[in-house]
């Protein structure tokens, strides 16, 4: 492909990820949000051999201010993200933020405005005391929903139940996702909840909001993640194996989530189609070698595989049961351990997925490395009121 053709496809300039960084994910970390941002950003920079002064722009991703407990927390976090005296902005699309942040970094470079961009995602959920649930109650409409006593888990339970009903899916089929991801996370050095559990453990765990049980759910966490983006010229200077951002997609559905059929995430499909179109992907299950769909709940992984067109509607449980989504399967899904295993500091968790695909494509994922020699990978996050999809397609 001539570079001109590539450019028209992927932006004015083609963009690569050249380094990634990650902190531990834990229920409580001592570091402030600024310090967490710094640690992840510094690790990503060190991985490239570049210095902060080489970063021409900075993007921050972080979910509600109500977690960290700072109004305008993007401003507060700026120095930790390395933004001192630099063009800096924060993007925010709820749970979709973590994958969206590198997308924002992409247009900083793809536009030709900057040759480099430092992308940092952070979440310090433990600041909200005694539990981040308090912050989650304010994501709902104050007139229609908050008076009913809304709880975040409710809406997932409603969606999960609808999905199960529509395709006649059993809980034990869904529990396999939790079993797989928590086991995968045993190999992740940052993981909060890696474990060897069984389907029975999931089915016997405490019922939170039927059909959601304790082991269907990811934890709340503190943590940060970062990636360094560079234009083609710079990328080739600093590394022999850049990972290209070849597809970006995002989509939001209507605010009126109770007016939609929750069994299928149309918005994820819309975002995926946008990214596939840019990446020139026509047959996603064949062309995607590894994927990190968003899995704050186990059924979400299945739901998102379908939305991402990696399988037909209602088929994801079957693929999971057949082992297709295991690391050594035909379509490894969440080899990192996902949010269920590694943890869920909202924005940082999404960027962790991008880091994982980056490492997988470079063959640097250590014990987690999938055997299939992947060339094309995908990460996806989901957010807002069951309405946001953000998708990134990476190639080596």
């Amino acid at each position: 492909m001539s570079s001109e053709v590539k450019n028209e496809m992927f932006g004015k300039k083609r963009v690569a990820i050249v380094g990634a960084g990650l902190t531990l994910f834990r229920r409580n970390l001592k570091e402030t949000g600024k310090e967490l941002s710094y640690e992840a950003a510094k690790m990503a920079l060190d991985a490239t051999g570049l210095e902060l002064r080489d970063m021409q722009s900075v993007v921050m991703g972080s979910a509600p201010d109500a977690f960290d407990g700072v109004h305008m927390k993007g401003e507060y976090l700026a120095d930790g993200a390395g933004a001192y005296n630099k063009p800096y902005s924060r993007v925010f699309v709820g749970g979709g933020t973590g994958v969206f942040t590198p997308l924002a970094g992409w247009w900083h470079v793809a536009s030709g405005q900057f040759d480099t961009c430092l992308v940092v995602s952070e979440e310090k959920m433990s600041s909200c005391y005694p539990h981040p649930q308090f912050a989650f109650t304010t994501i709902f409409d104050p007139i229609l929903e908050r008076p009913i006593g809304m709880n975040l888990v409710w809406i997932f339970a409603l969606e999960m139940h609808r999905y199960m009903h529509k395709h006649n899916i059993k809980k034990e089929q869904i529990a396999l996702v939790s079993v797989k991801n928590k086991r995968n996370a045993l190999d992740h050095p940052c993981a909060q909840l890696g474990a060897n559990i069984t389907v029975e453990d999931v089915l016997n765990s405490e019922i939170m909001c039927w059909p959601v049980q304790r082991l269907d759910v990811s934890p709340t966490s503190d943590g940060a993640a970062a990636v360094v983006l560079a234009s083609e010229d710079v990328a080739k200077e600093v590394t022999d194996n850049p990972v290209w951002i070849d597809g970006v997609g995002w989509c939001i559905d209507s605010t009126h989530w109770t007016n939609r059929d929750l069994y299928y995430p149309d918005y994820v499909e819309c975002a995926a189609r946008m990214a596939y179109k840019m990446a020139g992907i026509k047959n996603p299950p064949k062309e995607i070698d590894v994927a990190e769909p968003y899995d704050p709940f186990d059924y979400k992984e299945l739901h998102h595989m379908e939305g991402l067109l990696l399988c037909k509607k209602g088929e994801a449980p079957k693929l999971t049961a057949e082992g297709v989504t295991q690391r050594d399967g035909d379509l490894p899904i969440n080899p990192s351990g996902g949010l269920l295993g590694v943890g869920n500091p909202i924005a940082a968790a999404g960027t962790m997925k991008v880091c994982e695909i980056f490492w997988q494509l470079r063959g640097e994922a250590g014990k987690r490395q999938i055997p299939a020699d992947p060339r094309t990978g995908l990460a996806q996050a989901w957010g807002d009121l069951m309405q946001y999809g953000s998708v990134i397609v990476l190639r080596r």
């Binding site: 409580n28 970390l29 001592k30 570091e31 402030t32 600024k34 310090e35 710094y38 950003a41 510094k42 920079l45 210095e51 902060l52 002064r53 109500a66 407990g69 120095d79 930790g80 390395g82 001192y84 005296n85 433990s126 600041s127 909200c128 005391y129 005694p130 308090f134 912050a135 304010t138 104050p142 007139i143 908050r146």
Partner: protein, 155 residues
């Protein structure tokens, strides 16, 4: 534009609510050490950047300018100079304060930055005025910026 508007003021509705929750902030790696130094040793510390040579007050984990990790800590003393100040006459709710509060940025010799705090034991204040920290008695200190009661003029 909507086809219909509210034209009767009595039909205008508001819905009351809040976004209030309790927060507990860890002080951070640098913050915890900084406030422990104040609490346990009565010292105000800075952290020196091994690359830029800048001494940051308050000390941070990292140099905000070059991203070097800051590991060398130095005592910057309790005496400083007012870089700027203001006299606040109203409270956060807009009500008049019974007694105006003086806020200032106090800079320490050889250090970049300083501390934002209140100025006490004086009604007059000016840029360049020399001040020193007045700490709470050790048993009342909690590893907080308020372990310093205020700064007061040295003369």
């Amino acid at each position: 534009m909507s086809l219909e508007k509210i034209i009767n003021p009595l039909n205008v509705r508001h819905w009351l609510g809040d976004m209030e929750a309790d927060y507990v902030y860890t002080l951070g790696v640098a913050g915890e050490r900084f406030f422990k130094e104040i609490k346990e040793n009565g010292r105000i510390m800075g952290a020196k950047c091994p690359r830029c040579g800048i001494v940051f007050v308050p000390p941070r984990m990292y140099c905000e300018q070059c991203f070097a990790k800051l590991e060398e800590w130095v005592d910057v003393g309790k005496k400083g100079v007012i870089h700027t100040f203001t006299i606040a006459t109203i409270d956060v709710d807009g009500s008049k304060l019974e007694k105006p509060v003086i806020y200032a940025l106090i800079k320490f010799e050889g250090a970049h930055g300083g501390l934002i705090h209140k100025i006490g034991e004086t009604d007059t204040v000016s840029i360049g005025m020399k001040v020193e920290a007045v700490l709470k008695p050790p048993q009342e200190r909690k590893a907080s910026i308020n372990d310093i009661k205020y700064f007061k003029p040295t003369e």
